[in-house]
């Protein structure tokens, strides 16, 4: 009677346990799904909310969804835990009742015991062990052989594929006899199973594993040499690869403010060294500028880019390098978030102080209103956005810079300090890093430190470097102060930064350590430029000096009438430097630092000219013109 009760309890609890476990498992997976809590929908809605604030409907929706998600998460979590307790309880009931049911059960052997012949069992067990061992070894070997080239494949570039394929082919062919050997041993063993009675074959058969393992040994030696070759092949192209990526410097382009990477260096060849606007000597073309702006021209291919702005219009211009004709222009308008009235700026900065940047596929421009527009090379607008209206008492001035397909924006204003990188083609934010620096007017620079590039930003009070791939700060060195306008420059992994009322400081980009300081003559607007042995600085009060790049010792100073706002550019071993009154100074970029030539060009110049093969494009206050040697 009691037994029946126990049996029934057991059955009921068993059924209960099974159904309950199924329920719990489904619940468990549901919790798993909602466990990150912020579902993608809510996440994207929140993003949307930040982009266009004030949408109360959207906010209400987010709040509701968020509440639901949290509720679902905590409730199902709670269910899971109580569920597990109930389950354990039922299991206890199950175990106890089933134990009671079987309490007096004795597993008594049947009358006629099977005659257990231990020897037969042992023989059979031996066979099993032998087979499994061989089988496992063979499978293991096969796995290694097959998986090795596959694993290597991930790290390889497509170029090696033919080689890889042949390697795979080789290795699979070596593997095949292996497989066959295994199959053979199994085949042979089958008849032996029938003749267990005679123990002698057992010896032969158990020997087989070792026989089949011996060829493996030989093959191991062969195969061990093969992967080494593969590694060699892999490591060699790895040396060349970064070079190709890192130095895409096309000499015929001048992609950003102060050249590609914005270091004040140009690889242009056959650069003109003499011209005159009034007489028209060496002038290819000259065009009046429709809208004012203090930004510098940028050249890619046969296109010249620059911007202009006033209170109502902000326009990106594209001119032909060949004849100075306008190719297209793009207006920054209808951008969400753009302020109705342009922020106040001073005349020497204006709303179009930042220089545009291009990567040869897209060209982007930013204005003092925070409006950012990006077009393809044919003037089709790709995207536009406002990254926030800069709170800047002179006007936003940091130029854009491109790194691979990233557009880098130094946004150091009174309201916010950050550096952001956007996808040039789509405008998506790739990374954004908050900065501790105060308002700054200088522009970002890409410094090549070893194989990797560092994004170097001046600021008040520190110069800092970031990883351009992810925006992580690499180092930061405080030595600046006041209103920082000049940008940094770099050569051979050493970064030089200077600003008036602070110092000229050389920093080892590898670890961010300060190499030396100098404070004899410091620039205010014009950025310094450096060679391996010298650093050249042009001040706003007319003094141009050279420092020793290794020690910071002042080497030579030259005084001129006039001010230097336009930054010096080194091309073909010469330093080209405009003073604001339009006099071109050409120095030798060597230890001598001699003034090679100095001549009047005709119009006032604040912008930095663009240097390309055979040509220089100069933006003056009123016009833009192209100098050529041809």
């Amino acid at each position: 009677m009691k037994k029946v009760i126990f049996r029934n309890i057991t059955l009921v609890s068993a059924i209960f346990i099974v159904t309950f476990s199924i329920m719990l498992i489904t619940n468990y997976f549901q919790v798993r799904q909602s466990s990150p809590l912020q579902t993608e929908i809510i996440e994207s809605l929140k993003e949307l909310n930040i982009q266009n604030s004030g949408n109360t409907e959207l906010q209400a929706q987010i709040r509701q969804l968020d509440l639901m998600a949290r509720k679902a998460y905590f409730v199902s979590m709670d269910h899971l835990i109580t569920g597990v307790y109930i389950l354990i309880g039922m299991l206890l009931v199950f175990i106890v009742s089933i134990r009671l049911y079987f309490s007096n059960y004795k597993d008594i052997p049947e009358k006629e015991l099977d005659p257990i012949d231990e020897w037969v069992i042992k023989t059979q067990a031996r066979k099993y062990v032998g087979f499994t061992a061989t089988g496992m070894a063979a499978i293991a070997l096969l796995f290694v052989v097959l998986s090795t080239p596959f694993l290597k494949d991930n790290t390889d570039k497509p170029k090696e594929e033919p080689l890889q394929a042949s390697l795979v082919a080789q290795e699979t062919t070596t593997a095949e006899p292996q497989q066959e050997a295994v199959v053979e041993t199994i085949d042979q063993s089958e008849p032996e199973e029938e003749t267990i009675e005679t123990p002698e074959p057992a010896v032969v058969e158990t020997e087989e594993p070792t026989i089949s393992e011996k060829p493996e040994v030989k093959e191991d030696v062969k195969q061990e040499t093969v992967p080494e070759k593969v590694e060699e092949v892999v490591s060699e192209p790895a040396k060349e690869e970064p070079k190709a990526v890192v130095a895409p410097v096309n000499t015929s382009n001048f992609n950003a403010f102060r050249g590609n990477n914005s270091n004040g260096l140009s690889d242009a060849k056959n650069v003109p060294t003499k011209w005159d606007l009034v007489a028209g000597t060496n002038i290819a073309w000259k065009t009046a500028i429709p809208l004012k702006g203090h930004n510098s021209p940028v050249v890619n291919g046969d296109k010249v880019f620059f911007t202009g702005a006033d209170q109502d219009n902000r326009i990106l211009f594209c001119y032909s390098l060949n004849d100075g004709k306008s190719l297209w222009q793009l207006k920054a308008e209808n951008i969400p978030g753009s302020p109705a009235a342009a922020p106040k700026t001073t005349d020497d900065t204006g709303l179009a102080a930042p220089t545009v940047a291009t990567n040869g596929k897209q060209v982007c421009a930013i204005f003092g209103t925070g409006d950012l527009i990006c077009a393809d090379m044919n003037g089709n607008k790709l995207w536009a956005k406002n990254i926030g209206v800069p709170d800047n008492h002179y006007g936003y001035a940091s130029s854009l810079l491109t790194y691979n397909n990233l557009l880098i924006i130094q946004y150091d204003n009174s309201n916010e300090s950050k550096v952001i990188a956007l996808d040039m083609a789509r405008g998506d934010e790739k990374w954004s890093t908050a900065r501790q620096e105060k308002i700054t007017w200088s522009s970002p620079v890409l410094a090549k430190v070893g194989a990797k590039e560092q994004l170097v930003l001046m600021g008040n009070p520190a110069m800092a470097a970031y990883d351009p791939d992810n925006g992580k700060q690499l180092w930061r060195e405080e030595f600046l102060s006041g209103e920082v306008g000049a940008s940094a420059c770099s050569v051979n992994g050493i970064i030089y930064g200077a600003s008036e009322y602070a110092s000229l400081t050389a920093i080892n980009g590898a670890d961010g350590s300060v190499l030396w300081n100098a404070s004899d003559y410091l620039p205010e607007v014009a950025s310094p430029v450096a060679t391996a042995s010298n650093v050249y600085v042009a001040t706003s009060y007319g003094i141009v000096v050279s420092y020793d790049a290794k020690t910071g010792e002042l080497k030579k100073e030259q005084e001129f009438d006039g001010e230097f706002y336009s930054s010096p550019i080194i091309a073909e071993g010469k330093i080209f430097l405009f003073s604001t009154d339009g006099i071109m100074h050409i120095f030798s970029a060597d230890d001598e630092f001699n003034l090679l030539d100095s001549f009047e060009t005709g119009e006032k110049v604040f912008a930095t000219p663009a240097f390309i093969n055979d040509k220089i494009v100069v933006r003056t206050e009123e016009s833009i013109y192209c100098v050529t040697t041809k």
Binding site: L113, I121, V129, P199, E213, V217, A238, N470, K472, L474
Partner: protein
């Protein structure tokens, strides 16, 4: 290549700089007091003491019950206590099975400091096994106890198969030690099937595996202990030669065969008279053959594992990290894996990592070779032991396999106490 590595090494990050005070401490005017927050540290050392004390107590109790009293009842209660305390309450960590890895690591690497409790968890059951047999397995080990508690009926598995499967714990043990001494991973802990059950959560696959094992153990005794547990393999070495041994009965065995089906782990061997149909010489020949094969097996295992070592070494974090970094360097991605990002942030150089990885790989090569040799040795010894013959006149316990659960006591009619119950049940 080296140049690039050097250059990457230059990418330092000042993680510590983040902890600086960007915002000054506020000067409160309203007399605000900082809230007093205390984070409780439970009295862990007390619990560890309780653990050890209970371990010794329970094992002594089982020894007393099994060796002296020959009764099973206390063992059930020990099992219940063990499952409740070591299992559910202490969540199964650290257990003796897992402690193998800590001990192995400590022996191989002197910089690893072994906690006393872990050492005791490792050595005490072994000492008890040496003295009294596998009393730890009987019911003190929560895993064994759990399986024992749900076990109802013992369906026999093919003896040849179970014998062959008994190699698995050894191989598992060898791999666990290999991965532990190379500081790659504690695989015993990682693939622990019951821990998820004790903790009400964890990896779903493992819990499922644990539940399946439990369901299996309803119908056949202790599948985990017999076919997986590496610590059981270790204990079997000592229990084989233990000083006091478990006996089915203290009286004379009458070969009644009643106990034969009682054993959940097939440790009771029936009488066997050696009526071999082969010549003595051929038997000797076979054994000699195996002795010749043994070194070959060891060498083959070593070579095979040595060749494997590179793939095995991928279990180590640094080796995988190095691979990831290589990929990143060759094919730079804007969005890096977290590991790579953290590596660059850490400020260590790829060169350092490379030398480290080379060291790990060399370690792996060395230890895998030894491990391979041991695998060969285990297989070889098993084959040899399977080709020896022993004559038995009575039912005997195979002490290496016996887990001292005491189930056989009830069956033996010679055990005075049990004669009555046996009569009752019949």
């Amino acid at each position: 290549m080296k140049k690039i590595l050097l250059i990457i090494s230059a990418l330092l990050m000042q993680m510590a700089a983040f902890a600086q005070n960007r915002f000054p401490k506020p000067d409160f005017e309203s007399g605000y007091q900082y809230p007093d927050i205390n984070y409780a540290v439970p009295n862990e050392s007390l619990w560890l003491f309780v653990d050890i004390a209970l371990l010794v107590l329970l094992m002594s109790f089982v020894s007393w019950a099994v060796i002296k009293k020959q009764t099973r009842k206390p063992i059930i209660w020990v099992s219940v206590i063990s499952v409740a305390y070591f299992g559910f309450f202490r969540s199964g960590c650290v257990c003796s099975i897992g402690s193998i890895q800590n001990v192995a690591l400590s022996l191989a690497d002197s910089s690893y400091i072994l906690p006393v409790s872990v050492l005791l968890f490792f050595i005490l059951p072994i000492i008890f096994a040496f003295l009294f047999g596998r009393v730890f397995c009987a019911g003190v080990c929560p895993f064994g106890a759990l399986q024992e508690l749900v076990n109802i009926k013992n369906y026999r598995l093919s003896k040849a198969l179970t014998t062959a499967l008994s190699v698995i714990p050894w191989i598992y043990l060898i791999f666990a030690i290999l991965y532990a001494v190379t500081r790659s991973s504690f695989i015993i802990c990682k693939f622990d099937p019951f821990i998820g059950i004790f903790r009400f959560g964890g990896d779903f696959g493992l819990i499922l595996f644990g539940v399946l094992l439990l369901i299996t153990s309803i119908f056949t005794g202790r599948p985990f202990c017999r076919f997986i547990c590496p610590y059981g393999a270790l204990l079997s070495l000592f229990s084989r030669i233990s000083i006091f041994k478990v006996q089915i009965t203290k009286q004379q065995c009458i070969n009644c065969e009643l106990c034969h089906n009682a054993c959940p782990v097939d440790a009771i061997k029936p009488p066997y008279d050696n009526k071999v149909k082969e010549k003595r010489l051929s038997g000797v020949k076979r054994i000699l053959n195996y002795f010749i094969i043994l070194p070959l097996l060891i060498v083959a295992g070593s070579v095979l594992m040595r060749y494997f070592s590179d793939d095995l070494s991928r279990a180590h974090y640094d080796v995988r990290l190095y691979d990831m970094i290589q990929q990143q360097e060759e094919n730079p991605q804007n969005i890096m894996p977290l590991e790579v990002e953290a590596f660059y942030g850490e400020g260590k150089t790829v060169d350092e990592l490379h030398t480290n990885v080379e060291k790990i790989k060399a370690d792996f090569k060395f230890y895998s070779t030894i491990a391979g040799g041991f695998i060969g040795l285990v297989i070889g010894i098993l084959l040899i032991s399977l080709s020896t013959k022993r004559t038995r006149k009575l039912y005997e316990i195979e002490h290496a396999d016996c887990v001292a659960c005491g189930k056989c006591f009830d069956y033996c009619p010679q055990n005075k106490f049990d004669v009555k119950t046996a009569k009752l049940s019949i």
